[in-house]
Symmetry: C2
Subunit: 667 residues, 2 copies
């Protein structure tokens, strides 16, 4: 018996061969019983005692199963269940900016969030979860779907410094969040909350405004913290502090804080979190899969931090299986610390139940089977083949069995808030077949959208944003030269040539080629503006998708007409390589002296280029924009004269692109 | 279609929405079909093509499932399924020497191996395994049970330098192995082999003799290699080489070698294994759970080593779930290398199938669905909730789904050698209920055995071996003294005192106390023999279980009678602490000047002790062995005179043990 206070009269008694309470002393009754009055646990104890104490109560006997507190999944993004397996084995930036964000921009809606939540609840029940902590958009829909499923959750609304699927600005998000909190506060299943996304997607102002709302309504404040080394370095560079210290400075910890990930935290940060009762949400699979690293869980536990386990969203996991996370948390702590006694099974079970509830600030409601808490419980069938045999001489054996041998599919029954949501593997509140069909339909739409995008490089370029379309029509000619100095002198001294501008660049061009020869190719240009001292003064990165060209020879010059899509190049070469997956790649590097001149009333760009990779030597290149065949013809004639003026014979003129010359030169 | 050679006429065609072949080009047919003739794959291809080619053949349609090659579990100890969860969250030495080995000594028998194998086969089929590689004792029984279950396996018989459960010496093991190989060679399901256990449990002679047998019969040679850092250091110290180099020097790689674990191997060792076609068996869960570390799998794959995945024995896992291992292998490679594109899902599937078969030198038989190979295949139901939704635009998506989302419990059908062993989750060749009942009975016996052992410290001591029993009966007295020098002088100068021996020790004693006050206590004594230069010359470690004593005061001296169990202390203090789990621990450290003297015809030990921890000061202690009450009385009288001779007043004599004085002095 766990207490001696006067009891409510129970409406139901559940009995089973093994009852784990996850109370402070990890009481374990075998056989045990739980007396429940509607949604509340009356008392937990030995089966015989409970049955004697309440003789006329309905009994549900769960036989040889283990009955234990429902599992708490402390960090997830439930609607992202609809994005499970969307794209895998990619770098974080390619995955996020190349796939997840474009698809979210297109598909996240109240309906998607509602459907995704119901789908997730079905999977969560099947794996023994009775409470989860969510962070996404349209949390109102998520809360609604969760409550309808009979699931318990902390639903925290995301706040971002960028426009989000459910808000044009963060002000809108804050307004939405206030209204959302007011609507759901006091609900029997839902705890609302606020979730500024992460240090790198918010500002100090957003953090403070979010904290104020959390404190005002006394609701939890969830945030992703110290997930990657890159984030740690970014915060250090921008705010001169480690991530947890930065949060502390913004007064975030005045709120009931939940910190997801905490992979890269040092001892002082751990101490700070312990001091301020910050709950840490450990996501072992996601942190491995995205190569973020392994959080120092044992250290945090030793320091007194409440650490829960979590799946993260199924787009980076790819499931909601808390048995897998529990097991992986226990295994990783040992393997990484070279300590086989680190994070024993009993502690892993604690993390998945009561400590998870503490970490999300909901332990007054759930996380253990104790008098006065809500009846959130599960039954686990330990008679399956992978559970056999079982040794019973060591009372901790039952925890080791659950963590190291049992599977989520051994969960047979789930009760949330005193109501069964799964009985003998049958979901009671959700229509699984309908959800599967709707999810398949959603995935098909996403596949069509992505297939269309993948079918053309242009669509993939558009998907990552900021593209500008240009039609270009230009005349150009080039010639091999031997002396830069002589030509430069001629250009500066030539009569009738007016020099408008002169610049010196180093240009690094990478060309991506794709499968079909007639398709576009993509150029990533990195321009270094070189000062008089020879040092780089400025940089410019540009991504240009160059469409198939229509080319003619015009008086020895090339007349080129083509379309271009120009985008700022904000990612790395590696990002683009992995995102666009070119079949081949080609690099051209040159040193360019560039003049903008006027000659006989026509504006020309004159380049004296030193092709350094591949080493093709020096070239003169003259170009001019044009608007019509007639204009092109006129300009080609003027260009021929300009070439002559600069001492270039007509037969020396080459009507080729550098990239073609460069490819000819390759082995 | 995978080949164009003339075909056998098929006896069965299996069709499914997705057919993965795991052939060299990872051909994937959707929908696909496999034509089978008895136990052999005739051809794999598009469903339409196959059905047209063989119109009058029986068809088994597996609907929307994935059909793929059966999974290869490349390293396990199947009978140890019966030891699943025997003891967890312990250090390797405590786990192995404190639990696994004592239980194996008591319970490993032909019957145990037979039962454990059948139990394992049931679990293996349920998780999609069609081939495993085993290493244990009584491999004949294991092969027999495996063949009866209709499972395919490489069964390698263990060779150890110590007596094993199935052989009194390694010569016996070698003889057994020859006979065993001769009996099973050429069997349709079983490949026999030999398995010298590990570098630290064999000798160069055993390795060479085993290699000779493997080469003579052309059978695989399996061994545990470079599992722990400690093993690496041991081999370095003993043979002056790294583990793989040491093996190479013994000529081991002339055999078809399988190396389990390879956690601690460097680049040169990896190159050596690649050169000699050594298959590596990667055990991610076991290596984390026992805190051995993480094997450099991506490096080995890059170097061209055939790396398979494995569960290891269920005593250190604690299951035989290859879906978990596949997933963990893929996740760990990313998380540990900080590279999210390391070991993508397709490679993980390859490791679990064809590369596993290559690693165990059985790829001519199994591991892929290709013309001429045996029909070893499984069906995976990907319509379960944790598999939804599925994106199909990327052909690698199917691999990601299997690795990151599917579970072993999604396996519905298993065929080995053309025969169904599981249909729609029903085992066809094994009686699961009977196996569960027999396993439960076995576990109960082990529990009884261990409970009895755990009930007394003596039994636990005996379980780890080398114990010697003594009854002791001695008279002793001690007194607090102030000057060592004066007393030493008196002793040396005293008339009638003959000094036989004199030594100087530093003694470190740790006492373990247990729950009930009347039980025994255990003393770990570390003796440092100190030379004239004050430096330690020799060490001695001794473990003494001191039984409850019968004590009387005899002329101011203590007359003590008690039993002792003395064992060499071959493990660390930490080992004993974790193995015996004392409720409290007490340390006494002293500097001891010891004389063995004869006084009035009686032999005495005279100790002048400086108690340094706790700091209790100096004591004179005199002891003599005795045989009877009468003799004890006489000796006590002589001892009183000796004390007087040394200037000790009768009232200064203390009838206490140091440990008691020491405990009195503690706060």
């Amino acid at each position: 018996m766990t207490t001696n206070q006067p009891y409510l009269h129970p409406t139901l008694i559940i009995t089973a061969a093994h009852v784990l309470t996850c109370d402070d002393s990890m009481s374990y009754f075998s056989p045990g019983a739980i007396a429940i009055s509607n949604e509340t646990v009356v008392i937990v104890g030995d089966k015989k005692d409970i049955l004697e104490q309440f003789p006329d109560t309905d009994i549900t006997d769960l036989g040889n199963k283990v009955v234990m507190p429902g599992i708490v999944n402390t960090h997830t993004h439930v609607p992202m269940t609809l994005l499970r397996g969307l794209a895998d084995d990619l770098r974080l930036d390619v995955w996020l900016m190349g796939y997840i964000m474009p698809v979210e921009r297109e598909f996240v809606s109240p309906e998607m969030c509602y459907l995704g939540t119901k789908l997730a609840c079905a999977e969560l029940f099947r794996s023994g979860v009775t409470t989860f902590a969510d962070m996404y958009y349209f949390e109102h829909e998520i809360a609604k779907a969760t409550a309808e499923a009979g699931m318990r959750a902390l639903c925290t609304e995301s706040i971002l410094k960028f426009p989000a699927p459910d808000a044009a600005s963060y002000d809108d998000s804050l307004a939405y969040t206030r209204e959302y909190i007011q609507e759901w506060q006091g609900h029997s299943l839902i705890v609302p909350g606020i979730a500024p996304h992460a240090p790198y997607t918010t500002t100090p102002e957003i953090l403070k405004a979010s904290r104020d709302i959390a404190v005002e309504y006394d609701v939890p404040f969830q945030i992703h913290l110290a997930e990657t080394q890159r984030e740690v370095e970014g915060v250090q560079a921008e705010y001169g502090a480690r991530v947890i210290q930065y949060m502390h400075k913004q007064g975030v910890f005045e709120a009931k804080t939940l910190a997801a990930h905490c992979v890269h935290v040092d001892d002082s940060e751990i101490a700070l979190m312990a001091e301020h009762n910050v709950g840490v949400l450990h996501n072992p699979t996601s942190n491995l899969k995205l190569a973020s690293g392994v959080a120092p869980v044992q250290k945090m536990i030793n320091a007194g931090v409440n650490v829960g386990v979590a799946t993260d969203g199924p787009a980076s996991n790819n499931d909601l299986d808390m048995f897998e996370e529990m097991r992986l948390a226990a295994l990783l702590a040992k393997g990484i610390n070279h300590d086989p006694v680190a994070l024993p099974a009993k502690d892993a079970i604690r993390m998945a139940t009561i400590n998870g509830a503490k970490a999300i600030h909901m332990d007054h409601i759930t996380g253990s089977l104790e008098t006065g808490k809500r009846a959130d419980l599960i039954a686990v069938d330990i008679s399956t083949i992978h559970n056999a045999p079982a040794f019973r001489r060591d009372p901790n054996g039952i925890y080791a069995q659950l963590v190291y041998a049992s599977k989520s599919t051994d969960v047979t029954d789930v009760m949330v808030n005193g109501a069964w949501t799964m009985r003998d593997k049958d979901l009671q509140t959700l229509d699984e077949d309908a959800l599967l069909a709707e999810a398949a339909e959603f995935a098909h739409k996403v596949d069509v959208f992505l297939l269309e995008r993948e079918s053309s490089v242009r669509r993939k370029l558009v998907a990552i944003g900021g593209v500008e379309y240009q039609e270009s029509f230009e005349v150009q000619a080039k010639a091999k030269i031997t002396s830069i100095e002589a030509l430069t002198e001629q250009l500066n001294d030539a009569d009738k040539v007016t020099i408008l501008k002169h610049k010196h660049y180093r240009q690094y061009d990478t060309y991506f080629y794709f499968d079909a020869p007639e398709t576009d190719f993509l150029r990533l240009r990195e321009d270094e503006l070189v000062g008089e001292d020879g040092k780089a003064q400025d940089f410019r990165y540009r991504l240009t998708l160059i469409g198939p060209s229509d080319e003619q020879i015009q008086d020895g010059s090339l007349l080129i007409s083509r379309s271009r899509y120009i985008a700022p190049s904000t990612h790395t070469l590696r990002f683009y390589r992995e995102y666009f997956r070119p079949v081949s790649e080609h690099t051209v590097t040159k040193d360019r002296l560039r003049w903008r001149i006027v000659y006989r009333g026509v504006e020309f760009a004159v380049n004296i280029d030193n092709l350094t990779e591949p080493q093709l030597g020096h070239f003169l290149e003259i170009k001019s924009r044009t608007w019509s065949q007639r204009d092109a013809k006129d300009k080609a004639a003027v260009m021929r004269d300009l070439l002559a003026l600069l001492g270039i014979e007509p037969e020396a003129v080459i009507a080729r692109h550098y990239i073609d010359l460069s490819q000819d030169a390759q082995p």
